[in-house]
Subunit: 148 residues, 12 copies
């Protein structure tokens, strides 16, 4: 089982700035945690980060060898139909994760263009959101495999 | 560590009807899964279900001996300021869970009155949403205890 | 054939107040008329009234021995997703009735959360709305039985 | 007692197309059912159909010898202030009927310009809507006569 | 100088019903007043009434021998892009008149699709609105002739 | 018969600027035309202009010796509840006039806070709007006197 | 003179939590203050609290022996048509009170479904809101008695 | 193969007025171009124009011998549910065409009630829109025939 | 303790017009009642009225010797950011009062620009609103003094 | 004559996924069809595809040697002001094409930011949309050349 | 070169209150800075402040001897059509300045009625906004003079 | 002191097209002016331009050695949450500049996603906007340095 984790724009700054909103862990630390959990759950993961909407579309399009996506679309959550369409086009289930509780923030962050094409959404648990997202992705994949 | 799980209105019908939206597991089966996971995570859980908004408010008000809530407010997600105010009034972190991906359903289900006072939200993973919710609640509580 | 008639909040005051909006018949008189018509149509009816949203949800959930519901959700027409979900969850057709023409009243009464899950809606004919609703419920049930 | 039944635009196609929305009965069959019921209820009815908004206005204006109208304004329900004004101008009570449950369909069909000037509205019972509408019209007329 | 007066739908009922909104004068009486004033102002007028949107479009299209239009679009004020387009297409200035003050009535009557293509609008003076409209039309025409 | 004409803010600049919107006549020239027509119609008029909302409220409050008001509220049309309340408070009918067709201009000019309390509205005929407004005011007053 | 004071959902927690919003007095302390003032004003009061919408409807329906209601609907202010309808149905004047200034809080708290059927509203003065509300209720009752 | 071309209201004025918006070709010239292209493509076409909504509904209802419709609903694009319902009711694919780019014009012209029931839409190419529309209609019909 | 009472536009007409909305007491009578109550409560009051928004801003700016304001902003409630900013700028608590229940009136009167900067709001009790407002102002001031 | 065809994001997946929405032809097949038609029409075409908004902006900016653009902006239709501004900045007419009928899909797809700066729009004819778009582009260019 | 600086309502309180929003400089200090810069730039300036909308209109109307305006409309930014119309009426370019960043504040402060008639807008730089505004005004004037 | 100037999409075309909106200076000429002013003000500047949202995010993220940003986000002003988040994430003050007065243009250009995280905004002064922006950036930096 292989899972692809995609970090959206500005997440490369994690742990360096605005720790009150996004927590104190760096992206590298989160990736290490994810890899540890992946090992525990006996799955492979790959991790990508990009600030470019088009690049994220490219990454999603090329994900066909993965069983599931875990994606934090960050700012593109609210503005990118292109990423939405890419997720809808590939047949891999996508788990949408957010570090902060987007429903506690500015009005425009309450609407996700990604959610209606995602399998499910996890929001607000800080870096734990990623771990829960990985578990969810693994669980979905097992369920799918057991029914096929 | 003690966690209270609250199931909102109509969830007592789970597994009996509309399986295409809510899955085939009954509420009892979900509770059994939750208890099993609680045991694995070494926490105690109690479980309550009610179709009555006021009763859910009562339950939340009396939850002060718990470390966290896992709540699926179901229909009251979109209409109950009273449950929102009860969650805001007690000092226990609440994890909001939904079986279905509420962002794939009718427009009025896209807005949660509970989300802005919840710690975080998990939506769309079927009965797995509850298991992830329990893990999240446990994780929050550990984090809180380790920082206090 | 058995039909359940549910009267929503404040309908127990019928005929006692605001006769200009709701007419001069008491709820008892309406129930008597309904029972008379039921007899004429050769069906059994039961009647329930409650001011409590949760109680109405309970009643609907327990209605599986009935062939159809006739429901005047009154104030909950415009605010209750829980009653909507209960009607959608049980497999019994529901006829929504209103004494007053809700489209002649305040803006917020023009939207029914119940209508999209009801079989049909009858509004504005005073106590006659109930009688028409009962006829509709009987007619739906006969049609269903004849095609099964 | 004389009642005028008015069928709005495209209802002449009934039973020929889109049977899933509007049912399988033709307009002629519905008219026959209406006439049978009228006979049972001991009232006279006349029936008109038009695809033209202006013609429907003309028909309503000339209805002064009738005791009540039963009207299915169809598409004009949502767009015709002229038909609304015609109904408001004549002093005959109008019963608005719809074959389909308009609240289950496209957003723009949820608003009726006619409802606020109609006596009451019946929606969603297929051809039974017309029969209930005729009964309602007869009941209104009797009530009016008994109080005058 | 020739001016065409167009009365929209339901205005043929004037003076016969809803006198509290539209006044007690019949359309014939208003036309007589208009003709008297036309005579005083030394202009010719023709008068048309129709309940049909398409017919009013036809009438406007054939008005090229007139110097100006005085039009009370009545219900079509709020719903007819076709009449708006017809007025915009012919090169004759149009004076929009209303018997009642449309800004004191239902919300939907506050918006005129005709106003942005009319020369000006007169609303609320009862049958006097027509007389003022005729004066306005004459004044516009004189001004145009004097500058050409 | 005495009529008070009130010119709102910036109308003292008439004829000096933005002639394409408001015409080339100065306010003095319009007042002269109004006085000439008043003489012809055998009524007295007084004329006031102010750029101050509060001053216009004062003027309206002190108008009890007049039979009617002709008011061009200009910019305050769209923003002044105070002027609206003053007009509603005094018992004198008010004719609202506008030089330009406000429905051809910016969106925010399409809504008049004054119109619902005015007797009627005349918009778009340039300085002729005032003359029509004066005629309307005289006509209303005669009608009122003849019925009292 | 008898007055009924109704405290809505979560008000039983007063003084125990969120003192920055609702103040430090407990509900018992507020009730004691109310009773003291009632004594000073020479009126009898009864006090009820409930977290259940339906129960509050029941309480209001049974209030016919009281001269006035003082009600803090709390969360139900913004969501309960049932309580609104109950207040409208009974003939007793209702004074709506709020501890916090609801216009300084979240957008959804700015709209009260109760206000249009209440006699008046008092908001923002902490526990003083109740005392002012009681005074208002007494004053209304005296005024009513003196005019009857 | 037979195709019906329907021109909506005011299109009979084409080439005579407002050439800046709609171009300089008359409707006859456009029809001649259409017939020439039809000949080239080896299909038969018939052409109808009407200013009457109801008449256009009648025409569509009687189009069952045609393989496709090419319709420029003009003003009725934005206001006619009746034409929409007629197109939905007949089983013939409809190509919606517009001379002008409706998305460059007034806000209300940006919404087409027809588009959701049309096969496709062509807008903005002047009389070329019709030619492209005819090609589209022919292409759809060939595709349909080849798959049946 | 000194309190300033400010009456907004058109309140100088109180008791003279529209008694059904605003009551029969004149402003002088209300001021007399206020002074009597002030005496009873052992505070000094000054009273100002103005129809001018700018003047009310001036008055508020010069109120630094007062302990609190009681202000009925009347029409400016809904339109004046300047008065809102003046209240926010001075450090004196302001009690907003309204004679009529503004939530029972036109839609635009339901929104107060002043409320979010006021200490609290009292609406709907007629002249009693002022007396309650004065009591509230006194109570706030005592509370502030006792905590400083 | 040279025409540039631009395919927006995710169109490189055409024919591989979601064939029910976008058809079964691959982008290569569509490009082959386009080149064949270009040859028939005696024009040169170049074709570009990108998933990157900025890259599409770059491509448009460098298109000055082309006579026209045919662009399917796909997801960027609804979100890209940058592409809109690029099209407006270059002086080459742009034909906007869509495979699916965007007016039959999700609400947010009904609004095109590109349409107001495009020459015209073609939507809903599957791969035929491109062929019609190419014809439209050629026709526009001929018209422009013949008038210059 | 002469430039007029206009300070709107409540700006006379600058530096005395709410220093966190508006800074600690008094209006006199800002004016001194402006005069110093004016001297450096070799232009004359005059400065006016008013809390009265009408007075600001008067000032603008009398500004014809100035080359440009620098105006901070403060609260009237969001509510005054009268000031907007005055600026549009005079032919002098106006530079709109704001001390605070109005886009970081309450929703209603995000919309400026003045901006569409101003030459440009400067917002958020505290007292530096005025200095930049003066430079902008001088630059505009030089540009205008050099092209005339 | 070092300042980074960022030019958003399509600004590389400046002076080449749409000179009526954006002026006649090329981007190079503006950069030369900026460098000259920087020299006069004794600060260093670097200049970047990109049509790619993601690239602009990258540039902002790497700006930590600069004291301030001057950014014209152009089209991304209205659509980019990613650029907003990047500006919020870095701790460098950003001055938002626009060549055209965005409040005089299309509705969608009136809303800036960047403004709430910018220090201030300058709009409408053509290339002068950049010079004012640079001055503002320098002034902010001096102020910050003097207080630290």
């Amino acid at each position: 089982m292989k899972i692809l984790v995609i970090h959206g724009p500005n997440l490369n700054l994690l742990g360096k700035r605005e720790a009150d909103i996004y927590g104190t862990k760096t992206l590298d630390e989160i990736n290490t945690m994810l890899k540890q959990l992946a090992k525990d759950l006996n799955v492979e993961i790959d991790v990508r980060q990009s600030n470019h909407e088009g690049e994220i579309v490219d990454i999603i399009q090329k994900s066909k060898n993965y069983d599931a996506l875990v994606i934090n679309p960050a700012a593109y959550t609210h503005t990118s139909v292109a990423i939405r369409d890419a997720i809808a086009a590939v047949e891999i289930p996508a788990v949408e994760v957010h570090l902060s509780n987007i429903y506690k923030r500015e009005e425009f962050r309450h609407t996700s263009l990604i959610a209606p094409v995602a399998y499910g959404q996890i929001s607000g648990f800080g870096d734990e959101s990623y771990l829960l997202g990985l578990r969810a992705a693994v669980s979905i994949t097992y369920a799918k495999k057991s029914t096929s």
